[in-house]
Amino acid sequence: MYIKAISAISPQLTYGDEYVQGDFQIHTKGIINAIEPNYLAIIPASLLRRMGKAVRMGIGAGLPLIKNYPAIDGVIIGTANGGLEDCIRFLNQIVDYEEGVLTPTNFVNSTPNAVAGQLALMGEKMGYNSTHTNGSLAFDNALLDAKLVLESSDKPMELLVGAVEEISDYNYNIDTLNKHYKTESISNEDLISSTTDGSLCGEGATMFVVSNEKEGAIAEVVDQFQICFPENDEIAPLIVDFLSKNKLTPQAIDLLLFGNAGDGRTDFWYNNLQKEVFPNLAIHTFKQFCGDYRTASAFACYQAIQLMQKHSIHGFEGQQPTTILVYNQFSGERHGFILLRKLPLAMKMEH
């Protein structure tokens, strides 16, 4: 499967050129919020008012790609939680008004498939449409789903694939109860080197135009792999195996892009894999840019492709990788690996 174009709304200035020119946005408030663009050029004001954050970020990142790639047939989205702000608003109405007469807007917006549904509606795409909600594997699942759809087509085909996650008070509170976030004040700049418990909450929408056609593509999704609840020593041999199935040795990987989150409890997963399988490679990380959230592997793929394009990403100066392994896990439960390879074509910026 090939990637033709990418787009992201994230806590960095990814909607313009700043991020690929080395800009790094510092967030010190504990929550790493997305920097949202002015949506009015993309979304009519009347619609925008009724959209929750997950839906508008998804439309903001995805709809321009749909417009620029008219051959896109369908939409596949990964989101662990969908529109949680609307979800809690509706929930609060239920309890506060003792199940009285409620307005449906929040309910309709809160369903995780609202993003893929709205993209299909606004982009008039009647083809394959699905939404994966499988926690930190939801984006990985969406990618494989796309691959299966593309493989089954004997004609050239394009799909929009992406991931959306929003921070709301709701998931921030729940995830805080689950001790996912740091209790001390820390900036995203210092996140990865931290060794205390928890990470910093992030959010964003990341979209990809994928195709079964190599022509016009900038990168290839070579393969992917997932495992749940692994034993400590289980991952290293599985990754060697995974690479060898793709006729690669660990030495063939140029860059490791790992989900280290500055979480003293779970970063060992990344560090151990690097030590055991890639002793000659340094770990590069992406969560200082986007924060920690379940579908952050989509942002990692976005960043990997920007690195392949030799853009000057902050802290990656001089790197010119062609083969990148992305690894992300959440709470040590679900682990996902995505193998990406550069193609010769240069990318044009999409925004």
Binding site: G74, V75, A80, N81, G82, C87, F90, L91, Q93, I94, V95, E98, E99, V101, L102, P104, F107, V108, S110, T111, P112, N113, A114, A116, G117, Q118, A120, L121, G123, E124, K125, M126, G127, Y128, N129, S130, T131, H132, T133, N134, G135, L137, A138, N141, L144, D145, L148, E151, S152, D169, Y170, N173, I174, L177, N178, Q226, I227, C228, F229, E333
Partner: protein, 398 residues
């Protein structure tokens, strides 16, 4: 491409705790819709529901899973999962094999205890035992953990077509050679969140739902879980093949967030794609297990789609939601199992509560149990919010 066979089934709904119990009710025409005993809501008295006849405590005893924080969604999922893997006689080694996939689905997921979630999400009091269980995919994670699954896992939420898409994806994984087996389905339980959501859209009927009837006034919410074991033809050893997953189509109506277009373009595309992947003409369909929710919009547009696709030769059809209510994410898998029962037993289970055909459509579903009819190919429809629609074709093994 490898053929994909169904070799095991497990389900729980208001009709019973096992497939066998549900089959008895399907044959005797007894609906699972009525007054609730367990679900607590302002609407518990005023609206009918299709509730599973077991409390959370009873489900814990039945499944043997009683961990703190386990939700009703997870409990009913485990119950149906246990039945499906036992029915297919999968060994622990096969269940944990890296080439066995598990694809589940849910809409309400772990948010089934609305009041506990309210407290935890708003920091409004003592932390509930469910604080780690709210995610839509929590039931999947629990099953992965408890049954030591090591293969591909996924959770889908495409609203009312969720578990139909789980079946579709499982079949594709097997066809493509990425998995040899897939356990596929979904689970959704009654929750204030869903009941109030559908109520705010004014599509809940105060009487048990009347699919395809002129005087239908909305749907009846139900709860259920259903899983099917799919296996590749070349890994099946000496076990009965219940049916084949022969075709599937997934399309988006791209019309409205919560209603189907008048010309049913999405549902029609899903049905046509299903026929085309199955390599079948419309005339090969012997029975349609319709989506048939009982809402004004769905039944009108689904009828229109039948007329467009089949012309005057519309096959026997029924919606079984008059029995089970609308079980949302579980509906696709639950109705796929009912479709398999039709194929196995040469019978069609009736569309309950029907009396008057829809004006201008005139379609009459099967209203009494039909027995002794050979069913070779069933079309099973699932359409939902967000324009999501999926049609499956389940066929008798040649």
């Amino acid at each position: 491409m490898r053929k994909v066979f169904i070799t095991g089934m497990g389900s729980i709904s208001s009709l019973g705790l096992t497939v066998e119990e549900q089959l008895k009710k399907l044959r005797s025409g007894q609906s699972g819709i009525g007054k609730v005993n367990h679900f607590q809501s302002v609407y518990s008295e005023s609206l009918p529901f299709a509730e599973i006849n077991a409390s959370d405590e009873e489900l814990k005893a039945i499944t043997g899973f009683a961990e703190k924080g386990i939700t009703r969604t997870t409990l009913i999922a485990i119950k149906a999962f246990q039945e499906a893997i036992a029915d297919s006689r999968l060994t622990p080694a096969q269940i944990s094999h890296t080439r066995t996939a598990f694809i589940s689905s849910s809409t309400v997921g772990g948010m089934c205890y609305t009041d506990a979630l309210y407290t935890d999400a708003n920091n409004k009091g003592e932390i509930s035992e469910f604080y780690s269980s709210y995610e839509g995919s929590n039931h999947t994670l629990q099953i992965v953990k408890q049954f030591k699954l090591k293969g591909y896992t996924d959770t889908i939420n495409t609203a009312c077509s969720s578990s139909a898409n789980a079946i579709l994806l499982g079949a594709r994984l097997i066809q493509s050679g990425r998995a040899d087996r897939a356990i596929v389905g979904g689970a959704d339980c009654l929750a204030k969140f869903t009941v109030n959501g559908f109520n705010s859209l004014r599509i809940l009927n105060e009487q048990p739902c009347k699919p395809f009837d002129e005087h239908r006034e909305g749907l009846t919410l139900g709860e259920g879980a259903a899983y099917l074991v799919l296996e590749a033809e070349n890994v099946i050893e000496n076990k009965p093949l219940y049916a084949e997953v022969k075709g599937f189509g997934n399309a988006n109506d791209a019309f409205h967030p919560s209603a189907t277009s008048d010309d049913a373009r999405g549902p029609l595309k899903a049905m046509r794609d299903a026929l085309s992947t199955a390599g079948l003409q419309p005339s090969a369909i012997d029975y349609i297990n319709a989506h048939g929710t009982g809402t004004v919009n769905n039944d009108e547009t689904e009828s229109f789609a039948f007329m467009e696709l089949f012309g005057t030769a519309i096959p026997a059809f029924s919606s079984t939601k008059g029995y089970t209510g609308h079980t949302l994410a579980a509906a696709g898998a639950l109705e796929a199992i009912i479709s398999v029962l039709s194929i196995q037993n040469n019978e069609i289970y009736p569309n309950l509560n029907f009396s008057t055909p829809i004006a201008g459509r005139g379609l009459i579903p099967v209203t009494n149990l039909k027995q002794g009819v050979e069913i070779k190919n069933v079309l099973s429809n699932s359409f939902g919010f967000g324009g999501n629609g999926t049609s499956l074709i389940i066929s008798k093994v040649d």
